[in-house]
Symmetry: C2
Subunit: 518 residues, 2 copies
């Protein structure tokens, strides 16, 4: 369910193969300069890394043409929006190797960028200049699982879906689920504080992660891999690394609580006339479905039509077409007949009060998959339609969709909106339960001015409305220039102080997240 | 429900009035010395504070006899286990006053201890020497509540139960519930990362707290009072202050997510033959009750008999007497008939499989209250029986009760266990859902050697079994000497580094939590 990510990934890969590569990040974000304090990579460094790793785990390429360099898959992201110029990617297979690598880099003042499944969309996992990439893909063991407590201890490079597949026959599942499930790794999930589709029910990683093993910038291994549900002995250090995007250390191991697999899962799709009705339907779902409500997604007509036009031409709309909004809700419970009764009552109330004017409920797995497609293929549809911008803002639910209208008005007034124009396919969808909107649009290829203009409008709007410029994607390099606008001086100073005290040489993922530390 | 705290508080207060005060903490924990770097309080300091606060909000008393000093209620804790010698307690009414106080103390090198409802049991909220107490009791406004999102923004001094009472008519409730509910304050809850009775369902404060307002040691106000469910803009700074026990700053405001009040609540009590059967009953509850299971408490026969003997002499046992273990489970759901069906099926299965040999379910509120008494009055019963030691360890559920047997064996072998002996009424109970055991015992009044011996045995045992020496009570001053044993050098160094970078003068709650920073 909700597996659009893997498809999106493949689509994106093939699009990358056809389209030209995006310009270098350093050519686009021109106010960020390479810091002189970092050494340039030398042959002696590579020689050292070859003593730590076997030769197949050191990818080194001095080729300058990115179309030919073997480094390109690590230097670029899936959306083809960020590109660095690293010449070295290291693949440690165990924590002690990560420790040796970071110790050496810290001594030699070599900058490092940690990378997992390379599915991030803010450029956090790609170099900005020539940082050495340390990729965790080959650290992928499930270290232990306790089938009474449901606590798993895993390597950072374990793919989220692999863990889920491992847990399924044992009656457990992962507490987070996101588009990139088939590629993203748990270390990256933790480092970006990934949210995803189950957050409403299972909460954030700040709650489900019980412990971390982190290699600090000087190579010290911090073993904080607790498997205890509660532990109040001193500062909760792991919290610092959750969402730090690899700027404070490299996460190598994760202890995570996993919930039981639900015995009954149901989904229903609704057609609604306005965003106010989407909110009403959500409030009623919290009242009527309460403990079994596990997700509530919404999207607009433009998203629905785009999916029909680009992805599902030969499919009938499963629900009334031309509705202004659609919603898909999911329940997870332990007794099908109880859940069914609750959903029946909820849907009946929705129709009687005219909050929704149409609703369908999946009766089997095939129908479930068919319904999900209309939601899950939205990002894929827009990526297939051209270079795509993707945003994930958070704000008060009441304001959530207003942004989409305002973006359209803004570009319509300037004569820049429309099918044959600069900004097209402006669509909005998201996780209403979390106050999280995804807004996407197609723009001309590699027009960074156009991209920057939309960034500015969206981020300004979010900041002005007390929202967040990123609910889950993170800051990376893409939004670092906005940090001083969305955080107070005190917050920035505190972040700088933490960064400087843990990474005094600044080697870990420089130019990102915290401004003013280089 | 679960309101033993308020009663315990009153009992404890009256016990304190009758019993002599505990010796000074500095006389008991002799390896902690007053740091010379802190200035002694001078008249000019008091004069300054009187320009910041109105005179009724400055309590100053140079009286040395604690039986006569008006400072005694702030210098001592409820369990009468910790006592400091502060001569000044300040009661700011707003954040700007806290800012002025800390700025001044930081400049003058005056040490400070933050205090809320003074319900902590590790001495974290009491001075060790002459630290100035900054008490948040008079900062008690509910700043805002959004009845669509359920997000409340409150002053640090709001009492947990007051917030719950405010929320109840609006259909919401607080996500944590603990013994001291009637006295403890949200600022203190956050600073100690309080767990309590609903953690199993609603998770920890690291998840429910969305934002904090904190006055940093130099007086700077960090306004991080986000009301967003998701926000990934940089480091999640609030996490640092959750559970820091006031050593990094003083929490003045909290933004917290509150859940809907459940429509149906049920409780059942079980009698079980062994701790293995308690675990089986818990696993079966997770299977059968799943999404509605909100709490699962257990206690031993000795706890039950102590409550009968000391508190409920005239009451009949509600369930088979002389059972080795008892459990009380709670469900919260949205439909009474569904919940009832699930519980019936669960209880039937328990009896048929002979996991439990007796079970009762409350049929109305009166019965609910009656059943809860047997669990909720345990701490009160032991406090009424003499000076009481209280521990809260966490470990793998399978090991949870073994500690109680080992403690008894240890003292029995040394001839120190029994009704007319040094260690008596050794009992165990706790939150099985969180792997959290409370072990309590009565010891002779003010015998610190006896206390220290039991501390040593319990903490060593927990550390040896990969457990935590404190699941929820925190380190405070009581356990700071054990920190270097339960944390690695790397963890201690990282804590020191964070402490030093945020509080370079070390004025915030010194001698506590992080060893080696003075």
């Amino acid at each position: 369910m909700f597996r659009y990510g893997r498809r999106l990934l493949h689509t994106s890969r093939s699009i990358q193969a056809q389209k030209s590569l995006t310009p270098l990040t350093s050519e686009k974000i021109t106010n960020i300069k390479r810091s002189d304090k970092f050494k340039q990579l030398e042959q002696s460094d590579i020689d050292y890394f070859r003593t730590v790793l076997t030769s197949n785990n050191v990818v080194h390429d001095e080729e300058l043409n990115p179309e030919q360099s073997t480094m390109t898959p690590y230097n670029t992201d899936f959306f083809n929006l960020h590109r660095g110029a690293s010449k070295l990617c290291l693949f440690p297979t165990e924590t002690s190797q990560v420790s040796k690598i970071l110790k050496y880099c810290n001594e030699q003042k070599l900058a490092v960028v940690p990378q997992g499944g390379n599915t991030g969309v803010s450029g956090g996992q790609n170099p900005v200049f020539d940082e050495i990439i340390v990729n965790t893909s080959k650290m992928n063991k499930i270290r232990s699982f306790n089938d009474i407590s449901g606590i798993a201890v895993v390597d950072a490079g374990v793919v989220l879906e692999s863990l889920d597949n491992y847990l399924a026959p044992l009656g457990y599942t992962v507490p987070l689920d996101l588009g990139a499930k088939g590629s993203c790794q748990l270390g990256g999930n933790v480092s970006t504080n990934a949210g995803g589709l189950r957050l409403m029910k299972f909460g954030s990683l700040h709650g489900s992660v019980l412990g971390l093993e982190v290699v600090l910038p000087d190579g010290t291994i911090m073993d904080n891999l607790s498997t205890l549900r509660k532990d109040n002995t001193g500062y909760d250090l792991k919290q610092l690394f959750i969402g730090a995007e690899g700027t404070l250390g490299l996460v190598t191991g994760i202890s995570i609580m996993t919930p039981r697999k639900p015995k009954s899962v149901n989904i229903a799709m609704l057609a609604l006339d306005s965003f106010e009705k989407v909110q009403e339907a959500f409030v009623m779902a919290k009242e009527d479905l309460s403990e079994i409500l596990s997700g509530f997604e919404f999207w607009d007509r433009e998203s629905m039509e785009l999916v029909k036009r680009v992805m599902l031409q030969d499919k009938e709309y499963p629900i009334e077409a031309k509705s202004k909004f659609y919603a898909l809700l999911e329940t997870q419970g332990s007794r099908q007949e109880h859940d069914q009764e609750k959903i029946d009552a909820y849907l009946t109330r929705l129709m009687e009060t005219e909050v929704a004017h149409d609703g369908v409920m999946a009766q089997d797995e095939k129908q479930t998959t068919a319904l999900w497609q209309w939601r899950e293929r939205i990002p894929e549809a827009i990526v297939k339609s051209g270079t795509a911008m993707t945003y994930d803002v958070a704000m008060d639910v009441q304001l959530l969709y207003k942004m989409v209208g305002d973006v359209k008005d803004h570009y319509r007034e300037r004569g820049l909106l429309g099918d044959d124009n600069v900004y097209k396919n402006v669509i909005g969808f998201g996780h209403i339960g979390d106050g999280n909107l995804h807004i996407m649009a197609n723009i001309p290829d590699h027009d960074y001015k156009v991209q920057k203009d939309m960034d500015g409008f969206v981020y300004d709007w979010a900041i002005k409305h007390n929202g967040s410029i990123t609910a889950e994607h993170g800051i990376g390099v893409a939004k670092v220039n906005y940090m001083t606008r969305c955080k107070t001086d005190v917050q920035i100073r505190l972040m700088q102080s933490i960064k400087n005290s843990i990474d005094p040489n600044g080697i870990m993922n420089p130019y990102k997240v915290v401004p003013g530390v280089l």
